[in-house]
Homo-oligomer: 333 residues x 2
């Protein structure tokens, strides 16, 4: 039995391409004492992973070639040398882009079979927790406030908008096309949506936020952040979650004008966060998110590709703004 | 009797010059009912005033020519048509750059003759309150933390460094010359100081902050903010107080690289403030600052020019980094 793997073949110069990856096969790994062998069922792809190919600027560490591409997956335990897990258990683990992986039992999280496995990677996974803690802890939304979200149809963004609605806010999304704007309003509950690729983006944004912006959940940085700054209300907040506009390049742009001048004049608070800092509150957050899903208040979308070999294409498309919801690559049933 | 006035003669293109101002004389103004006529004794000049000449980007409003240059002063009441004040009272008022001014009694603040009048414009005035609320409310300094201050010898900065020391912090100053670096350490209690004009500025900054930076009190924005970002510790704070690097130009630069990327990776909170938001806490703050002055813990410096006619030169020199402490122009005894 072989283990298909997708390796980082070369580091991207400029935009990421499928040719930066290479499909190969290795012998099935052997679990050691206390370890488990897992069969990957699905992996998720997030834009933030692109930063890991960019050098030392990321918390993901320095990039390397010749290694299996990293990523979280849902997997089934095939062999267990641990008392904590047994064959057949479902786990979330740092599987990477491969059919099989070995982990210490303490490094995976057992999850239930009672819900679409995609949700373990989406609304109940890092994306959902990121939306939850970023919006609720840093944004502190109050009913009636306007919450602006960039990459609003994305894996994190499409949950932020819905959570803002749950909290009684007006949700405004920034996305990449008129078609996605329609989808944001029709399927994701956004009150208004604008395309940053429109020539009239700044005017459209102003019209979509007649009362200004109280919370800007920024997944992009760059020009969208620059435009949003001018719409911020006094004493408003910018939640810095991601910099997708700057990931897919080897030459990140300068920061937006208006920093720090506008922060002062409008007394804006701007704060970055990493979801890992809230790990001791994950269980409570997952309970609340699961309740929202079950009540129908939250409608997480999974945007799926089929087959391990499609992962590079799924990633390139994601970086071009192709996804609606959490991008998931189904690897096995 | 005439009222000498300094008018804004033209708006600066590029750097401010003395020739942007014009000395003129007007008849002595007449106080109406409820108003007071004041003799200006001293005015203070702050870098932030430069933004008022720059257009709509400032909270100071749009610039105009042909009007008396604005600014706060200490003045003696000459004539009072108000029950609240009498002849001889000392007040802080928006005197502008002129010998005499008329105000409603409710728009001035009576102050005591028991302390150097310069302190009413410095440590007990807007500068001192700005240092106090910015550092204590937004920075929340804890003993042992490193506080970095830009424009560290300036009207606000020289008080921030001393207040950081009062709170048990290590204070590091950024200033404009080796001479000022020495002065920061010798007279203002900074533990270390670096010149941003040094070719080795970024290296010097790193060496001056061996434990990184927990609070950066930013009076400058621009390249100094850009360099400071790379020294910030995880979960650190940037207090955005001023943008002096961008005031004296008609073409403000873009924002620093690393925003928002570094804010995320290091979970930095960056917040702007205006001191006016804390007006209901001014009295308590002034009591504490006055106690620090009286105990000798705080040593506010006034950097004085003589004569109303010297105000334009005092302002141009301030914008070039010439001042140490609060710049004050003495107008009359």
């Amino acid at each position: 039995m072989e283990n298909r793997q997708i390796l980082i073949d070369s580091l991207p110069e400029g935009k990421l391409e499928e040719s930066n990856y290479r499909l190969t096969a290795a012998p099935l790994p052997e679990p050691g004492p206390g370890e488990i062998l897992c069969r990957t069922l699905a992996v998720t792809i997030g834009a933030g992973t692109r930063a890991g190919l960019q050098g030392s600027a990321s918390y993901a560490g320095a990039p390397k070639t010749g290694i299996v591409m990293n990523g979280n997956g849902v997997a089934r335990v095939i062999t267990s040398n641990s008392d904590e897990l047994e064959e057949g258990n479902l786990v979330v683990c740092p599987s990477g882009w491969q059919d099989y992986s070995v982990h210490k039992a303490s490094q995976v999280m057992q999850v239930g079979d009672d819900i679409d496995i995609g949700h373990h990677l989406g609304a109940l996974g890092t994306n959902g927790l990121t939306a939850y803690f970023g919006l609720l802890k840093l944004g502190e939304p109050q009913p009636g406030q306007t919450v602006l979200v960039s990459a609003a149809a994305g894996s994190v963004g499409h949950l932020v908008g819905q959570m803002a609605k749950i909290k009684g806010c007006r949700a405004v999304g920034v996305t990449s096309s008129p078609e996605k704007c329609q989808l944001l309003q029709a399927r994701l509950g956004y009150d208004a949506a604008v395309s940053y690729r429109s020539e009239d983006f700044r005017t459209d944004l102003k019209e979509a936020c007649p009362d200004g912006v109280d919370i800007y959940f920024d997944n992009t940085g760059g020009d969208i952040l620059g435009a949003a700054l001018f719409r911020m209300n006094e004493h408003s907040r910018i939640v810095c979650c991601g910099v997708v506009s700057q990931y897919d390049t080897s030459n990140p742009a300068g920061g937006p004008r208006g920093i720090p001048g506008l922060l002062i004049n409008k007394r804006i608070q701007m704060a970055g966060f990493l979801v890992f800092d809230y790990i001791d509150q994950y269980d409570a957050a997952r309970s609340e998110i699961r309740a929202w899903i079950q009540s129908g208040e939250l409608n997480p979308l999974n945007d799926e590709y089929e087959g391990l070999e499609s992962a590079p294409a799924a990633f390139v498309d994601l970086l071009a703004g192709g996804n609606v919801g959490t991008r998931i690559v189904r690897v096995a049933d």
